[in-house]
């Protein structure tokens, strides 16, 4: 009896349930306010946008799980970097896509490793390290994009993101599912994944069982860069062209998607399924707000209040008097 109730309580308070519930409610609200909002076609488009956020949030998720105040604010600049690099590699040619993906993944990965080294070995707080790196990348982009055409998406890539591939679903959604499968496998079935949780939960203990803590921490920042770079490729596929601030709008949403997906900002607890649900909920919320015919200040306030309401449901810190 008690176990039944406690199981139900556990289910209801599970971040995943809440994020999915929030998504459904938001869809219903959207549909009521403006009929057509929750059509199948529109939902697929929403999911496409959510997929782009979801991919960058995967990297953010790893960094946050790794603990020690892990957060990567440089993902926005890395997305821009990935988009600009990919655009230049492709220049609108399908044949350039492989090189584009390679370069747009590798360069942010390497910069992410630098973030990781700063955080791990120099012990700069992640928030500040990645913020500083943002300025450096943006500055680098200004220098790099001088006189160089900022390129364009290849038609194949644009179609992959924007047009249905199979069963009316665009390719990017399959990619997202693939990334999700990899994330889940890595986090739940590999020693590397176990190690991420371990260092996020107790770094000292992780060192004492012989885990290469600095290496792991450095790598997860690298992976965050990698995911951001790949997001950049998706973004240029979505928008066709890139410009150097194209990624800025993803920074805080990527953190919020992770948090409302139930990953603790303290590290060591959470997972990617919740983050995916968080990305979807956040995307739907933003869409609903765009469709609402309201003044901008009212939209902003509704957005803020909704975030607070989600926090109320499960983003709370532990009670001190138990």
């Amino acid at each position: 009896m008690t176990t039944m109730t406690s199981r139900i309580t556990a289910l209801v308070t599970d971040p995943l349930t809440i994020a999915i519930g929030a998504s459904v409610i938001l869809l219903l609200v959207g549909e009521t306010l403006s009929p057509g909002f929750a059509q199948g076609d529109q939902i697929v488009k929403l999911l496409t946008v959510a997929a782009i956020l979801g991919i960058v949030a995967a990297g953010q998720n790893l960094v946050i799980l790794g603990g020690r105040e892990g957060i990567d604010l440089s993902v926005g600049a890395m997305i821009s970097l990935g988009a600009v690099l990919a655009g230049n590699m492709m220049s609108g040619q399908n044949s350039g896509i492989p090189l584009a993906i390679l370069v747009a993944g590798a360069v942010p990965f390497l910069i992410g490793l630098i973030n990781g080294i700063g955080v791990t070995f120099v012990r700069i707080p992640p928030l500040v390290m990645t913020l500083g790196m943002t300025a450096v990348i943006q500055g680098g982009l200004v220098v790099y994009s001088q006189g160089v055409p900022s390129g364009a998406a290849a038609p194949l890539l644009a179609g992959f993101i924007n047009r249905p591939l199979l069963f009316g679903i665009p390719g990017v959604l399959f990619v997202w599912v693939g990334i999700a499968a990899v994330m889940l496998f890595v986090l739940r079935r590999t020693a590397f994944g176990f190690a991420i949780y371990a260092i996020g939960s107790n770094e000292r203990a992780a060192t004492l069982v012989g885990l290469p803590v600095p290496l792991i921490r450095t790598l997860i920042y690298g992976f965050s860069g990698l995911f951001a770079g790949l997001t950049g490729v998706c973004v240029i596929g979505y928008t066709g062209t890139s410009f150097i601030s194209v990624g800025d709008q993803y920074v805080l949403p990527s953190v919020i998607a992770v948090v409302i997906g139930g990953t603790s900002l303290a590290g060591g607890a959470g997972g990617y399924i919740g983050t995916m649900a968080g990305a979807v909920a956040l995307t739907i919320l933003q869409s609903v707000l765009i469709t609402l015919n309201l003044d901008v200040w009212a939209r902003q306030i509704i957005f803020g209040v909704t975030l607070l309401a989600l926090m109320l449901l499960y983003g709370r810190q532990k009670k001190l008097r138990v």
Binding site: V122, R123, L131, V136, G139, L252, W297, G304, G315, K319
Partner: protein, 314 residues
């Protein structure tokens, strides 16, 4: 006490050293730097960040963070400008406007504190959300930048009082506040709450009051920064201050305060904010081509952070 252990206890001394180096470099590049009018003009530029960083420090010391300070600045600024013009623009109206601005800061800080300490919300996301709300309110109060404040306000702000510029008085007041607070029991309690929250609770400290107090101080200093910005810009602008949240955190860290809480000082943050301001200054007077300004500035800030943290890390 060895030099290194002194630096560990007062890591902002390194930042102070960096500041002195920057000042020397700047004076070489721009000999007029030491002229009083130039000093005053630079201080006027740096002041809002200094003030916001002082307030941010207390929140960070308690182990929290305040990303809403930029929006509080905007809201306090538009409220001040609106109140002054809604009344008659007289001297009394100016004071009423300033009072309203400060009240906005205090209320915003209180709201943050209540959510975070009272309802146990997660600080980063909460202050991000309240920041969006405060910014929305600012646009509601004043949909578009404008609404000049009376000349008496901004003239006074750029003038001298008792032979010393008003901005210098504000800085002195900020430093005095920082030194006084550092000697209050509140400050130790703040460090305790940030250093080991459970332990602080078990010791019987009033956690709620302390954390809310830190947010109120932060809101208050954001409002003070807004009043300074109002003196600097002579008008209201709902988009003001957007960059202050993140740069104030950089200033706090540069000033030797641990982002995880429990260690540091607002005096350090003042130095940190001055360093951030001076870096931009030096880059300009070094005559760098514009394409490189953002990059070099980013690199210097990152190097300064890395250097400071590297020397003092435990």
């Amino acid at each position: 006490m060895t030099a290194l252990s002194l630096l560990r206890k007062q890591p902002w001394l390194i930042t102070l050293f960096v500041l002195i180096v920057l000042a020397v470099v700047n004076t070489t590049l721009q000999p007029s730097f030491v002229e009083p009018s130039v000093l005053q003009s630079n201080l006027t530029t740096f002041l809002p960040l200094i003030l916001v960083a002082i307030g941010q420090t207390y929140v960070v010391l308690a182990g929290d963070i305040d990303l809403s300070v930029g929006s509080i600045v905007a809201l306090a600024n538009v409220v001040t400008a609106t109140v002054i013009s809604a009344l008659d623009g007289s001297l009394a109206a100016i004071f009423a406007g300033m009072g309203a601005g400060l009240a906005v800061g205090i209320i915003c800080g209180l709201i943050n504190g209540l959510f975070i300490s009272g309802l146990r919300f997660q600080p980063i996301v909460t202050t991000f959300a309240t920041g969006i709300i405060f910014a929305g309110l600012a646009i509601w109060v004043m949909p578009q930048a404008g609404l000049p404040v009376p000349e008496a306000y901004w003239q006074t702000y750029s003038e001298n009082v008792l032979g010393i510029p008003v901005v210098a008085w504000v800085l002195v007041a900020g430093i005095a506040f920082s030194l006084l607070v550092s000697r209050l029991p509140f400050h130790v309690h703040l460090l305790a709450v940030g250093g080991n929250r459970t332990g602080a609770f078990q010791t019987g400290l009033r956690l709620g009051g302390i954390r809310i107090g830190a947010y109120v101080i932060s809101g208050c200093f954001a409002a003070l920064a807004a009043l300074c910005l109002t003196g600097e810009t002579a008008s209201g602008d709902p988009l003001l201050g957007a960059s202050l949240a993140l740069s104030s955190i950089s200033a706090v860290v540069l000033g030797g305060t641990a982002l995880s809480g429990g260690f540091g000082s607002s005096a350090g943050s003042i130095v940190g904010a001055l360093v951030l301001g001076m870096i931009g200054n030096v880059i300009f007077f070094a005559g760098l081509s514009f394409e490189y300004q953002t990059l070099v500035q980013g690199l210097i800030v990152l190097t300064a952070l890395a250097g400071g943290v590297f020397v003092t890390r435990r």
